[in-house]
């Protein structure tokens, strides 16, 4: 409880600072001044990980993991995230991977849905119909659980297995999808994320084709996003990209979304996991 209070106070303080920075003179300042200000803001948050509001969702996720829920009234503590039933520590660092019981490659979020369905008997449709929070709404339950599990790999490096033929096929699919240009705007992921130092409006774009840059950013998801005031998972981030690309709603846990995740994680291989991160 004490921890919550401390966290709430710091969040309020930082939110105040953030608003002051955005609403104040910074906007009229030269672009590099804005960038330096934002960088200072981010490093203050990094210096004290407990100041990240996403930690509240991680705590909620941990409680959800342990709580008996669903028609079968069981917890998720027997869920196998790839390192054996119930092993959470370091599991995120080795995802996505092929799961024999499910017969497919899964990322963390897809696996959580699968466990909720197979262990707790919770209908997946109810979880995938409106899978992501609107602005100012908290991340949904599977996302909160994902935030907690990802945080239990903090400091480890991405090391997803690429030995099973299905894992290799998933990677190839992800890479092909990344470069596929479609929709009325002719966009692919690569339209925005395949060259260094670019931005949309004032927002910097990650050069995800370059492993050095992928290693710096992929490990920050799930992340708390200041502009929408909630935790955003990687599946949600991809969903949002497709929205921008003028494509339909990306299904949470679909083969395509897992494949893109696998490709990004492969690009970030060896990068340090810093989830939950903090974004604009």
């Amino acid at each position: 409880m004490k921890r919550y209070r401390r966290l709430a106070m710091r969040s309020a303080l930082l939110a105040g600072l953030g608003f002051a920075a955005v609403a104040g003179d910074l906007r009229a300042a030269e672009p590099d001044v804005i960038d330096r200000g934002l960088e200072a803001f981010r490093s203050m948050l990094k210096a004290d990980p407990w100041s990240n509001p996403a930690m509240l969702d991680a705590d909620r996720g941990q409680a959800l993991w342990k709580e008996r829920r669903g028609p079968r009234n069981v917890s998720l503590e027997r869920c196998d995230l790839g390192k054996g039933p119930g092993v959470v520590e370091g599991a995120f660092a080795e995802l996505p991977r092929y799961f024999r019981d499910a017969g497919r490659v899964m990322d963390l979020e897809t696996r959580i849905l699968w466990c909720m369905e197979t262990l707790q008997g919770i209908e997946p449709a109810g979880l995938t119909d409106k899978p992501h929070p609107a602005a100012n709404e908290p991340v949904k339950d599977p996302g909160a659980i994902a935030t907690w599990i990802a945080s239990r790999s903090q400091g480890r490096t991405f090391n997803a297995p690429v030995s099973h033929p299905r894992e290799k096929a998933t990677l190839r699919l992800g890479k092909t999808m990344f470069h596929r240009r479609m929709g009325p705007f002719d966009f692919s992921c690569a339209s925005c994320h395949a060259s260094p130092g670019k931005r949309i409006r004032r927002q910097g774009l990650a050069h995800l084709v370059n492993p050095d840059e992928a290693r710096q950013v992929v490990g920050e998801w799930p992340a708390y996003r200041v502009s929408t005031a909630h935790v955003m998972t990687l599946q949600h981030r991809l969903y949002d990209c497709f929205w921008q690309m003028r494509l339909p709603e990306l299904k949470l846990g679909s083969e395509a979304s897992v494949a893109l995740t696998a490709y990004l994680v492969k690009q970030a291989e060896g990068g340090t996991i810093a989830a939950p991160g903090l974004k604009r």
């Binding site: 290799k168 096929a169 190839r172 999808m177 596929r180 240009r181 299904k251 083969e255």
Partner: protein
Amino acid sequence: MRSVLIVTLISLGLAASLALADDRHAISERQMSRVLRQAFPSTPPDWRSRLTPDATMATCAQWGNQPPKEIADAIKRREAAAIRLPDDGNFMGDWRRGEKLAQSGYGLRFTDAEAQRPNGGNCYACHELSPDEVSFGTLGVSLKAYGRTHKFDPQHARVVYEKIYNSQAAVTCSTMPRFGANGILSIDQIKDLVALLMDPESPINKPAAAGQKGKADSKEDAGGDAAKRP
């Protein structure tokens, strides 16, 4: 001459398919379309075509957006044929409306299903234009003082119109959307954007207005309407 070109095209196509065949596990279009149907189950019937690249985009992807000259030229010819010119032969509209279009990222997203206002061009997402707007992207080239740089040449207005209408006719495999050819903007809207670039009175051809810097910074984000995100 023509047959030489055809032979060249065929052999280049062959080389490309061999290059793909070399990767025994290349993803087939059939497999991709199955994956995409499952990824986007709520696709409305009139959106299905969005999931399939047209011939130009398929070729661009195949060549990593850098096709050899012969193929690039063939794309340019085909795309140029898709350009519709204004009936009145006038390429310049109203730069004021153009500026509004350049700011707006509205349109064609699944949250815009029932269109409530005209689609935007969202030019500032990628280009620097008016010196009064500091919130601009850098994926596209800077268009600052564009008209002045081109001496307000009326002939050049047509070049600009065609480039916006169909970028693929000007720069093969350009990242820029085909605003006219893909039905994003109307002919009149494109004329307004031409005016934004080429009209001597347009703010992009003027020095920055004092105290105006960043006035629009909070208006829209990358795609516009941050608050209306799904």
